[in-house]
């Protein structure tokens, strides 16, 4: 099938559908007997934040994500096979199986790392922004994080320095309403997060994540401003469709709430908008969905067929260069018992 060439919304839909299908496949790794970690955080229901913001980033721009970052990396152009292989702990993964779902990184795509400490990846984009200004590069750095990080001090330390030094930085809060099992209104009194950013001298915008085009438009303005030296903050209001992680069945929220929340589906909303506006036919979108399903099915096969990292790789990359590998425990015990001369 071919999508209408000038249909930007169709491209955004494609990105969101790829994210959703990829994440639906993540759970299948277990079914296929792969030893993927149990800490897998899905962003289903939140795809508009990744797709809308990343569409406005340029190739030279960099970013960090939180632990729920599969979608953002995909939207920035990641190879889903290498992502899935990383989640499966395979040598062919982005980090050769050493990082996993929560620590994926790729220099080539400007991914300065997923960081699994809430708020931990935020100051790095200020550093990247400082670097951009220092080296007179025309690049913006974007931090993606959840509403949980809105209560972390490091965010405000980072915002303060970004504003103080006029750095090309954008802070993106994906407000999925829950920090693990705690609803946002039980974590803070004032949920108008844009006020906090403006108080530090940043541009601040809150946008409804149901419509990816609204997210894209807000991101466009904020990124343009950031590139010109005024950092910004964007809160994308979405709903986390599923639990915090794979094993979480969300006993802390009512079924009625979940049913209502899942109606705010940015993927279905964009699909309906495409059809209603006459930009795409239902049949074309069905075909696209099937194409994406096949692409993501292949990521599972790729992962299953990939090798686990060699045991000999364990001590590799602890240090950049010139570090001798520590001797193995076995060798050391042998040597100690033999009372060998060093």
């Amino acid at each position: 099938m071919t999508l209408t060439a000038n249909s930007h919304l169709a491209e955004l839909y494609r990105t969101m559908r790829r994210i959703r299908t990829f994440e639906e496949r993540v759970g299948e790794l277990f079914v296929r007997g792969q030893s993927a970690g149990s800490m897998l955080h899905l962003s289903i229901g939140e795809e508009s934040s990744a797709a809308g913001v990343c569409a406005e980033m340029k190739p030279q721009d960099s970013f960090t994500t939180h632990h729920r970052g599969h979608g953002i990396f995909l939207a920035r152009g990641a190879d889903p096979k290498r992502m899935m292989a990383e989640i499966g702990g395979k040598e062919s993964g982005y980090c050769h199986g050493k990082g996993g779902s929560m620590h994926i990184a790729d220099m080539a795509l400007g991914h300065l790392g997923a960081n699994a400490i809430v708020g931990g990846g935020i100051p790095a984009v200020v550093g990247a922004g400082l670097s951009s200004k220092y080296l007179k590069q025309d690049s913006v750095s974007v931090a993606f994080f959840g509403d949980g990080a809105m209560q972390q001090g490091i965010l405000y330390e980072s915002m303060n320095m970004a504003a103080l030094w006029g750095l090309p930085v954008l802070f993106v809060c994906i407000n999925n309403q829950y920090g693990m099992g705690t609803r946002i209104d039980q974590a803070t009194r004032n949920t108008a997060f844009d006020q906090r950013a403006r108080a530090f001298g940043l541009n601040g915008v809150v946008v409804n994540g149901l419509d990816v085009e609204e997210v894209r438009d807000a991101a466009r303005w904020l990124i343009d401003e950031a590139r010109a030296g005024k950092p910004g903050f964007l809160s994308v209001e979405v709903y986390r469709f599923f639990g915090h992680a794979r094993m979480d069945k969300s006993p802390y929220r009512a079924e009625a709430e979940e049913t209502e929340g899942r109606k705010k589906d940015p993927v279905l909303f964009a699909r309906a908008k495409l059809i209603e506006s006459g930009l795409e036919s239902e049949a074309a979108l069905d075909a696209l969905d099937r194409e994406i399903a096949a692409e993501m099915d292949a990521t599972i096969d790729f992962t299953v067929e990939s090798q686990a990292p060699a045991l000999s790789s364990m001590f590799r990359d602890v240090y950049a260069v010139g570090e001798p590998e520590p001797e193995s425990v076995r060798a050391r015990i042998d040597r100690v018992l033999a009372r060998e001369i060093v």
Partner: protein, 470 residues
């Protein structure tokens, strides 16, 4: 009775300072609280106030005099009817009393204030007398040596590397306009400008993370912590981000960054400002940990650290900053990280120390020599990666080992060394290994308790004698 106005001490660590300016002249009337002079120390500018009414009889130390010892009489204050001649200046200045400098400062009304507005850029920082150190095999024989303080050596190392590599920059609290809280970055702002010498807000967690991000993005930051005690705020960024990124990313990207600043106890600053973090950071794979003692090592290793592609913890010490050592006059003096220096060759016992710990060992040596004990002293210089082979080889020769550090005793660096030595040289040991560390308490404030909490020369001598069965 004429009253002597003494050179005040701003802090318990201050030994001398520069009398930069007289604000009153001989013959001027002063009343209590009048500012009569200004002095400069390595940290700040200080006003000297009159504590009594009277007339400035004689100025004993001229404006601009450097290295004026604490408690030296700098002027004589005459009471009604007294003459300047009656107040004969003493031939010898009273010696500084290490136990009571704070009281002296109070007596003279010395008052600290921010140095930023007052300290000229070129203000010379006073230096303690030079300490002699055995020749380092990494320094070519015949190299001209220049007496240099640890403070100057650190500054020179940064300046040289910043001249060499435009991607190197320094950031931290008070590093630019203030010239460094301990004047380590003195003059760097003037030479390199505010693009490369960056004052940060008081936001350790934040600027440590900014440094890590800048390193990931291609720069080579030197992040100064005003003290490593404040780096507790930043430890997530140091360990979870800086140390682990290279590994987690499968070798794609690391963080070439130096975190440096004073570590451990200074004097009389209490528990929150007096902790030695060598053992903490030395536990972390991905970090390199350097803790130099001499000015030469400080310079050569800091230059190496700045060039190293890994995150480095560079632990300095406030008390060592003012100490003078010979530094080789070489265009590019870089020392290897991870290599110990044999400070003194000997055959009876091995003493291993590093950083400030070496000061106790060096003082103990004189006493041990009197007792006929020929100690081999190894200055580790780098805690991680640790040069254990040098230690083990020495223990095989001497059969005895004592380690000396200021950190807490449980899970100390010395404990690690002792464990490795008993594994690697069990058959060679003639006595149990003794590890000397700080006492197992938060640092007390009172001078006598603080002294008790730190290791001391007597403990080192006693331990060495014990393992030598003497």
């Amino acid at each position: 009775m004429p009253v002597e106005i003494l050179m005040p001490a701003l802090s318990p660590t201050m030994e001398e300072g520069t009398l930069s300016k007289w604000l009153k002249n001989e013959g001027d009337k002063v009343t209590s609280g009048d500012v009569i002079a200004e002095i400069e120390t390595d940290k700040a500018t200080m006003e000297v106030e009159a504590v009594d009414e009277g007339v400035i009889g004689k100025i004993l130390v001229a404006a601009g005099t450097e290295n004026v010892k604490v408690n030296t009489a700098i002027a004589v204050l005459l009471q009604d009817g007294e003459s300047a001649d009656a107040a004969a200046p003493k031939a010898d200045a009273p010696k500084a009393d290490a136990e009571t400098p704070a009281a002296t400062a109070d007596n003279t009304g010395g008052k600290a204030r921010e140095a930023a507005a007052e300290t000229p850029v070129a203000a010379k920082v006073p230096a303690a007398p030079k300490v002699d150190v055995a020749a380092d095999p990494d320094i070519p024989a015949g190299t001209e040596m220049v007496p240099t303080t640890v403070r100057e050596a650190l500054r020179d190392a940064m300046a040289e590397e910043m001249r060499r590599d435009p991607d190197v920059f320094v950031m931290g609290e008070e590093v630019a306009e203030y010239q460094g809280a301990y004047k380590i970055t003195q003059g760097l702002l003037q030479e390199f400008g505010d693009r490369r010498v960056v004052d940060t807000p008081i936001t350790e967690h934040g600027f440590a993370g900014v440094g890590v991000g800048a390193a990931m993005a291609g720069l080579k930051p030197i992040v100064e912590f005003m003290t490593f005690n404040f780096a507790m705020q930043a430890i997530d960024q140091i360990i979870n981000s800086a140390a682990k990124t290279l590994y987690m990313s499968g070798g794609q990207m690391g963080a070439p960054i130096v975190f440096r600043g004073p570590n451990g106890a200074a004097a009389r600053v209490g528990a929150q400002h007096s902790q030695d973090y060598a053992a903490w950071y030395s536990q972390i794979p991905g970090l390199k940990v350097i803790q130099p003692y001499t000015a030469a090592d400080a310079k050569g290793l800091l230059k190496a650290a700045i060039r190293d592609p890994n995150p480095i913890i560079f632990l300095e010490n406030e008390i060592l900053y003012g100490q003078t050592f010979d530094v080789p006059k070489l265009d590019d003096f870089v020392l290897p990280i991870g290599k110990a220096r044999v400070h003194r060759k000997g055959s009876d016992v091995t003493i291993v120390s590093w950083g400030i710990g070496m000061t106790y060992v060096v003082k103990a040596l004189a006493e041990l020599e009197k007792d006929g004990i020929d100690a081999e002293v190894i200055d580790l210089r780098t805690i991680r990666p640790m040069d254990l082979p040098t230690v083990v080889e020495s223990v095989k020769k001497t059969g005895r080992l004592v380690t000396v550090e200021e950190g807490y005793p449980q899970s100390s660096v010395g404990d690690f060394i002792a464990n490795r030595v008993q594994q690697e040289a069990f058959d060679y040991l003639d006595a149990p290994v003794i590890t000397i560390a700080g006492k197992d308490v938060p640092m007390p404030y009172a001078a006598n308790l603080e002294k008790l909490a730190l290791p001391n020369v007597g403990e080192v001598v006693q331990a060495v004698k014990a393992v030598c069965y003497k």
